[in-house]
């Protein structure tokens, strides 16, 4: 425990000193929130809906930090440590790959939590958003979305050869997910065939679930997204620890 605590403290300090994630995972979502807030204010999402546009978008806003951390930050930091032979230094110490990966994973969990803790009060205070559905269900789906997306990042970082290939893989995963998962384009406007394909993204499932939970919309099939996200998390964790490369 002491080991994890000390590593986490120092690695978090380094990550904050680096500023990338402070900008992309914490500041960026706030800026997007403010911009959307000024444009849409407290207007309803569409004529006649009981919820506002801001409420409808809130789940997607929370995913910005998840995406930034899981698909850019986490894979890049782990592969950078490998490329710079920092992992090799760890290899000749008693620490296990699982512990190292867990520490890096937790750092990005912290960023996501901080982002959520700034977005929610700000949106509540200035644009009067409120949860129409279940707050607990919303938090649960947010949590599942976060761990499943971060675990994909862990997998990429754990097995990519170097920073370059990690960043290529990260981009290949990042942009389709960001564009097609419903974080930017509404899921509903896409052709059905496409919807079917992008349903396998955990982020797609996560955003749908978060939206439904937040707005109190009926959720047809809770089990599918939960199953998809849990399976992705489990598989990615196992592979990244099993196939971990020090060098």
């Amino acid at each position: 425990m002491k080991l994890l605590g000390t590593l986490l403290k120092n690695e978090l300090k380094l990550s904050i000193r680096n500023m990338n994630m402070v900008i992309f995972a914490v500041t960026m979502p706030l800026i997007v929130l403010v911009v959307l807030g000024f444009i849409y204010g407290t207007k309803p999402a569409a004529d006649g809906t009981a919820y506002t546009f801001m409420e409808q978008s809130f789940g997607a806003l929370c995913c910005i930090s998840i995406c930034a951390g899981g698909l850019m930050g986490l894979p890049l930091v782990v592969s950078e440590y490998r490329e710079r032979k920092i992992l090799k230094r760890f290899q000749v110490t008693p620490v296990s790959p699982a512990k190292l990966l867990l520490v890096e994973f937790l750092i990005y969990v912290i960023y996501c939590i901080v982002s959520m803790l700034t977005l929610f009060p700000a949106a509540m205070l200035f644009w009067k958003i409120e949860v129409h559905g279940s707050f607990l269900l919303f938090l649960g789906s947010w949590f599942l979305t976060m761990v499943s997306t971060l675990s994909i990042g862990l997998l990429v970082g754990g097995i990519a050869k170097n920073m370059k290939s990690a960043s290529v893989i990260a981009c290949i995963l990042y942009f389709p997910m960001l564009i097609f998962s419903g974080a930017t384009l509404p899921f509903e406007v896409m052709p059905v065939a496409m919807q079917k394909i992008i349903r396998i993204f955990p982020l797609t499932q996560g955003i749908q679930l978060m939206k439904a939970a937040f707005l109190g919309l009926p959720i047809e099939n809770v089990l599918l997204p939960v199953a998809v996200m849990s399976a992705v998390t489990l598989i990615c964790f196992c592979i990244s620890v099993k196939c971990f490369k020090w060098e």
Binding site: L3, L7, L14, R89, T93, P94
Partner: protein, 241 residues
């Protein structure tokens, strides 16, 4: 005397290049063992195979009675390593790097004291990248000693140090040896090898060409000076002439 490292018939090749060829060596507890040879003779590959960071093609390796690949968790509680190309996180401070290293071990040494001993006690608040080459090298030796090791690997430990810093490192290593520490080192400085090493092995194109003490090397080659003997054995003097 107890054997701390035992290597038998170690071979390792990269593609067609045979980097280490059927090398056997053993290191006794409480001694300083020097692995010498020109650049590319196979020193670093040998160290990496012994540590298990590279897979040997064949041969058996035992370190403190453990298999370095299978038992790394327990083995590295007692082994300190300084790599030639050791790197650190960008932006990390000396204190953070030491603290982060110390937390990995069950019974670490007091890293602040070690930093004092190695003359970087006043630098612990600085960023590692702001240190001079010599200071950084000393820091990496400190890191290797943080586990309170029984055995320490130092790959080109004094490269980049000035004369005084080199003497300081010798003094500390001699003192640690008298307390029972076993040291496995590589070096390109023959004065250092002469002062520190109880036993040496000279590699030439991946093959061991000499085992023994510095005195034996001098005698066998009828040289007054150890460096001359080394150059003859390692095959470097041919190019000089």
């Amino acid at each position: 005397m107890q054997t701390v490292i035992n290597v038998e018939q170690l071979s390792k090749s990269y593609g067609n290049l045979l980097a280490v060829d059927k090398l056997s060596l053993s290191v006794k507890r409480g001694t300083v063992y020097g692995l010498l040879g020109a650049n590319g003779a196979g020193k670093s590959t040998t160290i990496e195979c012994i540590l298990g960071t590279k897979n040997a093609d064949s041969g058996t390796i035992s370190v403190l009675g453990c298999n370095p690949k299978k038992d790394r968790n327990s083995l590295f509680q007692n082994v300190g390593v300084q790599f030639q190309e050791g790197d650190y996180q960008p932006e990390i401070k000396v204190s953070e790097l030491c603290e982060e290293t110390a937390c990995l071990y069950e019974a670490p040494a007091d890293w602040k004291k070690l930093c004092e001993q190695f003359g970087i006690g006043n630098k612990i608040g600085n960023a590692v990248k702001s240190l001079s080459g010599g200071e950084r090298q000393r820091l990496f030796i400190v890191l290797a000693l943080i586990p309170n090791p029984e055995l320490v690997f130092l790959d080109e430990l004094t490269t980049g140090l000035d004369a005084k810093a080199r003497r300081d490192v010798w003094r500390i290593l001699t003192e640690l040896r008298s307390r029972g520490l076993t040291v496995f080192l590589t070096s390109h400085f023959m004065d250092e090898v002469e002062v520190l090493c109880d036993e040496i092995c000279i590699l030439r194109n991946g093959k061991a060409v000499f085992f023994g003490t510095v005195e034996q090397a001098k005698k066998a080659n009828k040289c007054e000076n150890f460096e001359d003997a080394y150059l003859m054995l390692s095959g470097e003097e041919v190019e000089k002439e």
